[in-house]
Symmetry: C2
Subunit: 362 residues, 2 copies
């Protein structure tokens, strides 16, 4: 079970510290248990349709030459997070690194030499505590933008996402503390590209079709995935994802839907397994007369498409057919290709038709 | 003189078309005049302190094997922009490419084969007409976020930038049509990194110090530069730029201040020559005790620093000293290094001190 809420997490951190203290008083070798995050412990759960972590656990000891530094680092990050929670502030993972970096005593040894040492320790802590980095008050870079028929409360502000002009709400890294005050939307539409977001926002697609529009800006950032997840589970909105017709776009969809290997421990919070893929598909190319606006798939595209074919989360018959078609035709197509029909074709015809006829891939 | 306003630009486009029609009726070789954008025609204007375009003009002819295709492409893009203006819609430069791509008659020749053919034609048009792509209703990708003591009107929405929670306003590609309704800010603070924006936004820096806070997310996008420019000129706000202490950060500053070679024709609209550099500087490292939190500059950093030294817009004594110091010490430092003091050090101490004491580089 996932833990959340500042007090609960703060308590868990204290418990972790107390556990180690107790081991010390008992003259045991201080140690902590961390679920294994290597590929051998990652599986696709065909029931929940998400990528998740298995049961393997490893122990990290203080008195073990191979573990000692990481043990110390884990304690330092845990203590830092406890302070963040107590003081009600957030830090970026880069700030966390700088905050914890120092030279130990008179040695030449640093606590952390590079951020690539602190980042995995943060994930360890996430997994150990069964919580999210965001709930430990650690943030990473943001990307993604939202607009539409939803009113949220964030900090002391009430934000009506239907009144943000051409800009929209810049989705922060951390959306744990926002509340949905009023949801007039019937679904969430996620667009891979911000240019598509701009098109649909200018055409007020979200107004005409009562939805929340999200621009993911490529691979969705954690804050964006978490917002989609929360809109689905807390506001009961179906989620439709709209990407380019290429391996990269399909993978972006799969991460929103099923999670990813790196975040296997957090799929319960980031994945939205009932999300549907709206397009572009290979069949759309004929159906919407885009034959002249495709791009030749190169070797690396085809290699990636073949990799997707092997992922358990692309095993559905419809996806295997789609990927086979792409390999056979050796083409890909972009969302913007729909502009070849006319600029508003995507808003006036393509999306409404697809949604009305429920022409989705699973 | 820069032209703006939909009707004016629409008229200019018509004039351009009429000019060509007239040449055709007069049985002249149809041609258009385009200011030269090559490096030979780019100069640093030491008076305005901006990078600008010289006086060289080239002619593009229809009946010239080397020009014919580009002539046609220029006409197509101009006609497309006229339609955008007439229908009051915007398009991304990628949508523009797809909208104009087609096979000519029974030939195997396409109007455009790749976006890298249409993009420079768009710039040609910008330069020819003395206007901005944005005012031709063409947009590119967005990045950047804003929050603070300013209320804007955008489309039909009134947006109070002090009430956007942890997210902020996602700065669109095109800020031509926004109006500043109420400005309670005393200055604009531009931060290179969104993580710094998040820190300052959480600490409500913009509230305590009455400012507009902008997160540039690295090299500022056109919309972000234009928003900074407009806040400076229309709302009379001084602009302070806060980047990492490295060649990349200093260059980000110089582009905001003086423009860039690629956009030399548009410096009047994008550059903000009175912008000041707030930090980080090499001297800050000692002054604020960050010696242990610097990063070793590698060969490519030093090469870039040496390049900056030669740019006319880095010729001020203070900058030459700063760059020399960087080369001598072979180090760089990040904004987040200030977190090594304590998390809110940047908001509570560093920025207020720098601003109060006017410790800026020119």
């Amino acid at each position: 079970m996932r833990i959340s809420g500042k007090e609960k997490i703060s308590k868990e951190l204290t418990k972790m510290g107390n556990g180690v203290t107790k081991q010390i008083y008992n003259e045991e070798n201080p140690n902590i248990e961390i679920p294994v995050r290597s590929l051998s412990n990652v599986e696709f759960d065909s029931e929940t349709k998400t990528i998740s972590l298995g049961e393997q656990i490893s122990k990290r000891y203080l008195f073990n030459v191979a573990h000692a530094k990481k043990f110390m680092q884990t304690m330092m990050v845990a203590s830092f997070c406890k302070e963040l929670l107590d003081h009600e502030v957030h830090a970026s993972i880069r700030e966390a690194y700088y905050s914890l970096k120092r030279t130990i005593g008179d040695s030449n040894e640093n606590t952390f030499d590079e951020q690539k040492e602190s980042d995995p320790v943060i994930v360890d802590l996430e997994v150990m505590l069964g919580t999210l980095r965001e709930q430990l008050h650690l943030n990473a870079d943001r990307s993604g933008v939202a607009a539409g028929e939803v009113v949220i409360k964030d900090r002391d502000d009430t934000i009506d996402m239907s009144k943000l002009g051409s800009g929209g709400w810049s989705i922060p890294s951390n959306v744990e503390d926002i509340d949905f005050k009023k949801v007039d939307a019937k679904f969430v539409l996620v667009a891979e590209k911000n240019a598509t977001f701009d098109r649909l926002n200018e055409d007020k697609f979200w107004k005409k079709h009562d939805c929340v529009l999200i621009g993911a800006h490529g691979q969705a950032a954690r804050g964006t995935k978490r917002l989609i997840h929360r809109l689905h589970y807390e506001a009961n909105l179906p989620v439709y994802v709209f990407t380019d017709a290429d391996a990269y776009g399909y993978y972006i969809y799969s991460v929103i839907k099923s999670g990813s290997i790196n975040l296997a421990h957090a799929s319960d919070d980031f994945a939205t397994p009932k999300a549907k893929f709206l397009g572009l598909t290979m069949n759309d190319i004929e159906k919407y007369g885009l034959q002249k606006y495709t791009i030749r798939a190169n070797e690396s595209d085809l290699k990636r498409t073949n990799e997707l074919k092997k992922y358990p989360w692309f095993k559905a018959k419809e996806w295997q057919e789609e990927l086979d078609l792409m390999i056979k035709r050796k083409i890909k197509a972009e969302q913007e290709a729909l502009a070849a029909r006319h600029l508003k074709f995507v808003s006036d015809t393509y999306l409404p038709e697809k949604i009305k006829n429920k022409e989705f891939l699973p």
